[in-house]
């Protein structure tokens, strides 16, 4: 069964702006799915419609087979939503934020108390349970929103840029937490601007641009489409001029740093053989940009040109 199914979804705002131009999207149960797109592409509108915060103009959305128009209550019960910006009452304590949300989902007090404790412990927030939420750090506030979204044990969890603006340590702990949730059976849809995050966590991906889905496939086959990879080489000795190696495009950034475009059909071995022959010793290499980032930019450029 699909965790999420979207058919011909359109949204035109009152000012005439067409944010979604008839998108279709399927997310399978158990998936870890990336929904990517530049700012203003329509991601937030799509997520807003899925989570009942935005009215659609036409089209349909169903969550685990429950249509938002005809079976709203059941559809909502399957969904947990972690928004981009903090949206809880900052004068409430951490525990009351999560407990209240359990109440909105109709959970009896005893069960709500147990689930609140479980979720806060999962998010490493149990020690902060009686802290007024405005006193929490940014990372903790995001974890409160995840605990709140998880309290009714949703089958589908949407995280809208959950790691935006948090430090690398918290980001990595959130990655672990998301992977653990997914392994325990929760379907996850993630939107993020950190493409390495999407590449390392997600199995399937959709890219939305200008209100249309411009790519919808699994991550592996998308990455397999990359024909050229860009690397940065740190050299042991300085170079006077840019070396010429047939088949490869080299660019001297500084006297000890080279940028290289490596065609996939040629690979790296041949490059290193040629560099050795020119007596150029390489100390280290790294990807110039994230692989998905390059593809993402290519797809967005194509979409814009089209």
């Amino acid at each position: 069964m699909n965790a999420l199914s979207i058919r011909n979804l359109r949204k035109t705002y009152n000012n005439g702006f067409e944010a979604l131009k008839g998108i279709n999207l399927d997310v399978e149960e158990g998936d870890f799915f990336a929904l990517l797109g530049p700012n203003g592409a329509g991601k937030s509108t799509a997520i807003g419609i899925i989570s009942s915060l935005v009215n659609s103009s036409s089209g349909s959305v169903s969550i685990f087979g429950h249509d938002l128009k005809t079976d709203l209550s059941r559809a909502k019960s399957c969904l947990g939503m972690v928004p981009q910006e903090v949206n809880f009452n900052q004068f409430d304590t951490v525990r009351s934020i999560v407990m209240n949300q359990a109440g909105y989902y109709g959970m009896a007090r005893k069960l709500a108390t147990q689930r609140t404790e479980y979720c806060l412990k999962q998010m490493d927030l149990w020690d902060k349970r009686d802290t007024v939420s405005r006193r929490l750090s940014g990372g903790m506030k995001r974890r409160v929103m995840i605990a709140r979204a998880m309290v009714h044990a949703p089958k589908l969890l949407i995280l809208d840029e959950p790691t935006a603006g948090v430090d690398i340590e918290i980001r990595r702990s959130m990655w672990k937490m998301m992977q653990s949730l997914n392994e325990s059976g929760t379907t996850i849809i993630l939107t993020t601007h950190y493409l390495e995050e999407a590449e390392s966590l997600c199995r399937n991906i959709a890219i939305i641009d200008q209100g249309k889905i411009v790519e919808h496939s699994d991550m592996a086959s998308l990455l397999a489409r990359i024909n050229i990879e860009h690397f940065v080489l740190d050299l042991a000795e300085p170079l006077d001029k840019t070396p010429v190696i047939p088949g490869y495009q080299l660019e001297r950034v500084t006297d000890k740093v080279l940028n290289v475009e490596v065609p996939k059909k040629l690979g790296l071995n041949q490059l290193f053989v040629q560099l050795s022959a020119l007596n150029i010793k390489v100390l280290s290499l790294k990807n110039k940009s994230n692989r998905l980032e390059q593809l993402f930019m290519d797809l967005i450029d194509t979409s814009t040109a089209g």
Partner: protein
């Protein structure tokens, strides 16, 4: 009931909210009304004599109590729901399987409870200045509850349509307060010249204050049945508008 837990959660949250900030919500009406009773009731009232057969203090106590119920039931819902909208934690309710009528009932119940609690505080303050024997408890309580319901609903609509904090203070300052003062809190409409009497009868608050006054001290300028019809009619109208606004997501959804 399927949604009883969600409803109870909203009501309890609302009660905690106004109790937590009691110096802003419960204390000011006690001080203001004590001054009303002292200045208008005692110092000036003793020189006025009787109004429709009641001492002036007896006459103003019901009006002052109901005026407090009106302003606080309205203020509770308008400030709470607008803050919920402003801080975007309305989204907590919108993503959850909570129907519009539960959201409305929860916030309106919070407004009714605060309005009645403030009314009780003012009634207790009035006992320091006056001895009132309740004429009809059923009418007294039912008019207080219906009035609090009506103005909680009005506050809810104001909050939904408001786009700034200025918008939530315009109606209380420029509509509710004048209508309350002109609704016969401190005087009987029979004391007004002809045209002003007629105009006053177009003010719905006049009917509620007089019905409440009848319940408390047995004196009224209006027909009690008509007061119930007007109050009930407004409640049905405002509840329908509120539900329509919620259903369409006006002011709370894009």
């Amino acid at each position: 009931m399927k949604y009883s837990i969600a409803l109870r959660t909203i009501i309890v949250k609302e009660i905690f909210r106004f109790v937590r900030i009691w110096p802003q919500t419960l204390l000011p009406p006690a001080i203001t009304t004590a001054l009303y009773f002292l200045i208008f009731g005692k110092l000036i009232g003793d020189r006025i004599g009787t109004v429709n057969g009641a001492t002036y203090m007896d006459y103003i106590v019901p009006g002052v109590i109901l005026m407090s119920v009106i302003s606080h039931s309205y203020a509770n819902v308008v400030s709470s729901f607008y803050s919920t909208k402003f801080q975007r934690n309305i989204e907590e309710l919108l993503v959850a399987p909570v129907p519009s009528w539960v959201i409305l009932s929860g916030y309106v119940s919070g407004g009714i409870i605060r309005g009645l609690l403030v009314g009780l505080v003012v009634a207790l303050i009035s006992m320091l200045f006056d001895d009132i024997v309740i004429n009809n408890l059923t009418i007294t309580l039912s008019v207080a509850v219906l009035t609090a319901t009506l103005f909680s609903l009005a506050g809810f609509i104001n909050a939904i349509l408001a786009e700034s904090f200025d918008d939530i203070s315009i109606i209380p300052n420029f509509v509710l307060t004048p209508l309350s003062y002109l609704g016969g809190v401190f005087y009987s409409v029979s004391m007004l010249p002809g045209i002003w009497q007629t105009l006053s009868k177009g003010n719905p608050i006049l009917y509620m204050i007089n019905a409440f006054r009848f319940g408390l001290i047995g004196v009224t300028d209006v027909n009690i049945e008509l007061a119930y019809i007007i109050t009930g009619g407004f409640i049905v109208l405002l509840a329908s508008i509120s539900l329509l606004l919620l259903h369409k997501g006006i002011g709370i959804k894009n």
